[in-house]
């Protein structure tokens, strides 16, 4: 199972063993679900989100080194976000069968059950990402990813990043007004003026078309 907390493979291995890839993929799926579940009424725990996002990045990096991770072709300008959804679905469709049930809170100490692949047992590392595997293999993870993209899709493509950096930027400015002032102005007027002058945040960098889709999702989620 996940002996020693899912140790990384030995440096000598050229390719990750299928079992290890499976476990690693499960961990990745689980992490993405966790990040998505941060959208609650109460503000999500930033520390937890950052730690999960770092874990996702680590897995990604290792998968890239393995060759298990295909960096997608840079998106062309007019591409609809629906296309993104499809490509991510392919990326994230693991060699799992059926819906993986949500973690059972009643049995916290149970070992993670890794459901065996629907395809042949010896799935080649690159095989996870290509072809049309059975579309009905949508686990609970996949539904969550759908939800993520629903919320993102409602905005125009490319404006998504700007939307989030917008919220964050203005709040940061409020910060500067309220906290950064050493012996600063007591009068409300000064405070408001300072705020107004920095109220319009600079537009964020353009679409990160050269990053993996997963990266993109993860970063947006961390920011929120």
């Amino acid at each position: 199972m996940f002996a020693r907390g899912l140790k990384r493979k030995c440096a000598e291995d050229e390719e990750a063993s299928p079992a290890y890839s499976l476990q690693r993929q499960s961990l990745l799926d689980m992490s993405l679900v966790k990040l998505q579940l941060c959208h609650m009424l109460v503000e999500p725990n930033l520390c937890r989100s950052v730690l999960i996002a770092n874990t996702v990045r680590q897995i990604q990096e290792e998968m890239t080194q393995d060759g298990s991770w295909c960096v997608p072709v840079p998106q062309t300008a007019g591409r609809a976000s629906r296309d993104r959804l499809v490509s991510t679905e392919i990326l994230c469709r693991s060699a799992r069968e059926g819906a993986r049930p949500a973690p059972d809170p009643g049995d916290p100490a149970s070992e993670l059950q890794v459901v065996p692949a629907a395809q042949a047992p010896g799935v080649p590392p690159g095989g996870v990402w290509d072809g049309d595997g059975p579309r009905e293999n949508r686990g609970s993870f996949h539904k969550s990813l759908d939800q993520i993209f629903e919320t993102l899709e409602s905005q125009s493509p490319g404006a998504v990043e700007e939307l989030f950096s917008d919220v964050d930027g203005s709040y940061y400015d409020l910060d500067a007004v309220l906290t950064g002032m050493v012996g600063g102005a007591k009068s409300g007027q000064d405070g408001l003026e300072a705020f107004a002058s920095t109220a319009a945040p600079p537009p964020s960098a353009g679409c990160k078309s050269d990053l993996g889709e997963l990266d993109h999702v993860v970063e947006i989620l961390v920011e929120t």
């Binding site: 199972m1 996940f2 002996a3 020693r4 907390g5 899912l6 140790k7 990384r8 690693r24 961990l27 689980m30 966790k34 009424l41 109460v42 503000e43 725990n45 930033l46 520390c47 937890r48 950052v50 730690l51 996002a53 770092n54 874990t55 680590q58 897995i59 973690p103 809170p105 916290p108 100490a109 149970s110 070992e111 993670l112 950096s165 919220v167 964050d168 709040y171 940061y172 409020l174 910060d175 309220l178 906290t179 950064g180 002032m181 050493v182 012996g183 600063g184 007591k186 970063e219 961390v222 920011e223």
Partner: protein
């Protein structure tokens, strides 16, 4: 809340003679306890809970006629410190849960403490009233105003004793200074200032001034998408008022000197233990995240708690800790499950005893661990009603990591991960400890010699 307390004995860990005593009234608190803190003299013990309430216990004076109740803690004051709020800008609730309580050193008859939730810190004054004035001229005994024209004689009001009343009143509210969730507050040794730390920033306050705070640490990146590390805890040095430390989610501790610059973004010292490459896994970073940092009373050492261990650092050595104590190493093979059920993100606290010779921290299954630094002995004890008879010594517990389980051992798979002891406190002078187990408070003491 259930409060269990009573006599215990002897050295901290040897033969573990901590024991449980008489119980106070049940049903005091329905909420999960979120912080526990002794006052500087140890005569008061404050607890904060998830519902925003603060309950303060006071130690009873020694009473010859009731020798068995020597030093029992009874409820002294209860008040609602924080209420739930709504942040309209972000459309998010602000929890009323009390994250931390810190006492101010006593300066007069009244007692002061700071309590904080995620966003707002409050200074509370707790004062006693045991006299009331009688015989006013302008009003009756029941408070009604008297008709001035009917007053024919003047009298001097007399102070008469009354039943002790303990009042808590909010004296200062320090608000609107934190964008992120406050995880620590720490009173400075100058008794005039204190710090408050959230995930990305640390602010310095003067206790008298509520509309202004100074930002002294800011690790927020210009682009939030580059965020990979947050502040997890912060504390002032117990004697040097210019020194503070803060820990991070990457397992590092930074010591800052406020004299070097106004913004302490550059640390004076950087404490990090090099990673052991043989035990590296995807969870390495998460379990290295420091959940608590505490200076020793002497000020020479500091202690950090990460997921599986407690480390003691010498402030003069940044390269590695001087001591590492394993809290529950048997969980290392279960990290994936603990990640799945989120337990791996639990933030355990740790504390020193008064002489810095022992340290204590909590674990799962209502277990807590004590380490004696001089004898290098450690013990696992359990805070639960079923296993603690009044006035009987606590029995040490053992967890069976694998293989054949011996009698009286608890197997790892039968541990209850919902029963976690995150908050513990040690009396500043005596061998009295307070252990919060969900919504129950346990107080264990030494037996009289």
């Amino acid at each position: 809340m259930l409060v269990c307390q009573g006599p215990g004995i002897g050295s901290v860990t040897h033969k573990s003679t901590w024991a449980l005593g008489a119980r106070t009234k049940k049903g005091l608190l329905a909420d999960v306890i979120s912080t526990v803190e002794f006052s500087h003299s140890g005569d008061l013990l404050a607890t904060g809970d998830k519902g925003g309430r603060v309950v303060i216990f006071q130690r009873e004076q020694e009473n010859k006629s009731r020798p068995h109740s020597r030093g029992e803690y009874n409820v002294y004051s209860t008040f609602q410190s924080h209420e739930p709020e709504f942040d309209y800008l972000k459309s998010l609730e602000i929890e009323e849960k009390i994250n931390k309580i810190r006492w101010l050193p006593q300066q007069g008859a009244a007692r002061f403490l700071l309590s904080t939730n995620d966003k707002t810190i409050k200074l509370w004054k707790i004062s006693e009233r045991d006299k009331r004035a009688e015989g006013y001229n302008l009003k009756d005994e029941d408070g009604r105003l008297r008709d001035p024209l009917r007053i024919t004689a003047l009298r001097v009001p007399i102070l008469k004793p009354m039943d002790l009343m303990v009042e808590a009143s909010p004296r200062r509210v320090f608000a609107n200074a934190h964008t992120y969730h406050i995880n620590s507050i720490s009173v400075n040794s100058d008794h005039e200032t204190y710090l408050s730390a959230d995930d990305l920033r640390i602010n310095l306050w003067h206790l008298e001034i509520t509309d202004r705070s100074f930002n002294i640490v800011d690790i927020k990146p210009a682009n939030m998408e580059e965020l990979t590390e947050v502040i997890t805890a912060a504390e002032f040095h117990p004697h040097q008022c210019n020194v503070l430390v803060y820990s991070s989610s990457k397992g590092t501790i930074r010591l800052c000197d406020m004299r070097s610059s106004a913004l302490c973004d550059r640390h004076s010292k950087f404490f990090e233990e090099p990673e052991d490459p043989s035990s590296r896994s995807f969870f390495s970073e998460i379990i290295s995240s420091v959940s608590d940092v505490k200076f020793s009373h002497s000020g020479r050492y500091m202690m950090t708690r990460d997921y599986l261990s407690v480390k003691v650092w010498d402030l003069n050595m940044e390269s590695r800790p001087v001591e590492t104590h394993q809290v529950h190493e048997y969980l290392r093979s279960k990290l994936c499950s603990l990640y799945e059920n989120d337990c791996i993100f639990d933030k355990f606290e740790c504390c020193w005893n008064g002489s810095d010779s022992a340290i204590m921290t909590g674990s799962y299954n209502n277990f807590f661990r004590m380490f004696d630094r001089t004898t290098w002995r450690d013990v696992t004890l359990e805070a639960s009603r079923e296993n603690s008879k009044p006035r009987a010594s606590l029995k040490p517990r053992r967890v069976c990591a694998g293989g054949k389980r011996k009698k009286d051992e608890v197997s790892v798979d039968s541990l209850d991960f919902s029963k976690k002891i995150l908050h513990t406190a040690w009396h500043p002078v005596e061998n009295i400890i307070a252990v919060a187990a969900t919504n129950n408070l346990y107080i264990f003491q030494d037996k009289a010699n």
